[in-house]
Subunit: 146 residues, 2 copies
DNA sequence: CAGAATCCACCAGGATACTG
DNA sequence: CAGTATCCTGGTGGATTCTG
């Protein structure tokens, strides 16, 4: 997405070369980011406007959500539609390849839920983890069969 | 794993509280670490000794592999067996819950491979990514049906 | 062979304030 | 409502060296 060209943005390169060998690493790269799976999940649930998404994930800053949404867009997982109006309106949607990720996301979700009590125990035991917030996840419906 | 009690080790706490809401985040936490999925995959392939694993993942330092293996162990995904002999011998194995993660790992692997050409393109385009190593992933056989 | 101890570069992600 | 600009913290993972 690029509406106006704003000259040379401040850019930098990751100094450490990316490991791209097996499919595992490609997938990790796409899902790399604290909120990426949650974002894909939200959009698949038809929660597609930034304000809605932000309400769904109140622990994430708008800035971070924007950053990760942009990465998802650059990786071709989501599409961004900008309605040129006031107040501005933006809607995200999953691309075909983005939809193809949903079974994976669902599997992650299910595995985590299935093992919730065990995982919460071992993760909480870990002295590296300070407080843990257990805010429940509201249930939403997938907007398309996959 | 704890063989000898060595007094109070240097400990610290993560300052930022962990987000544990939906299963997604629990799963992300367990798989959080650059080499975790690859490690689980390797061990499931019966590549279970540190030296073997290190040979399989030459781009990772021994230190990092140790750190992430220890986390997997603390999270109950792998078990570590130490043979008290010289030269020392160590073997890792998946726990039941560790095995239950394998369908997920496989799905990630398959998705990444299925979309390899597309993903390599979009990820390589990203100016944030410097060099990309495309060393192929050797094929190994799963040591147990899941 | 296995791994602990240091040291540190890098960057992801949070806080805050601001524009259109 | 949506997005950008700064600034900053802390934690991940890499390099190196050392032990048994």
């Amino acid at each position: 997405m690029r509406i106006f060209d704003q000259g040379e943005p401040v850019m930098y390169e990751k100094k450490i070369p990316l490991t791209i060998d097996c499919g595992l690493h490609l997938t990790k790269e796409v899902l790399n980011g604290k909120w990426k799976p949650a974002l894909l999940n939200a959009i698949s649930m038809d929660i597609k406007r930034p304000s809605e998404i932000s309400r769904l994930l109140p622990e994430a800053t708008r800035r971070v959500l924007n950053v990760q949404l942009k990465e998802l867009e650059e990786h071709g997982m989501v599409e961004k539609k900008i309605y040129p109006q006031l107040p501005p309106k933006v809607e995200y949607s999953l691309t075909e390849i983005g939809w193809s990720l949903m079974p994976l996301i669902d599997a992650m979700n299910r595995w985590g839920d299935a093992n919730r009590t065990f995982l919460e125990t071992v993760i909480a035991q870990d002295p590296k983890n300070g407080k843990i917030s257990k805010s429940p996840c509201p249930a939403y419906r997938r907007m398309r069969a996959i």
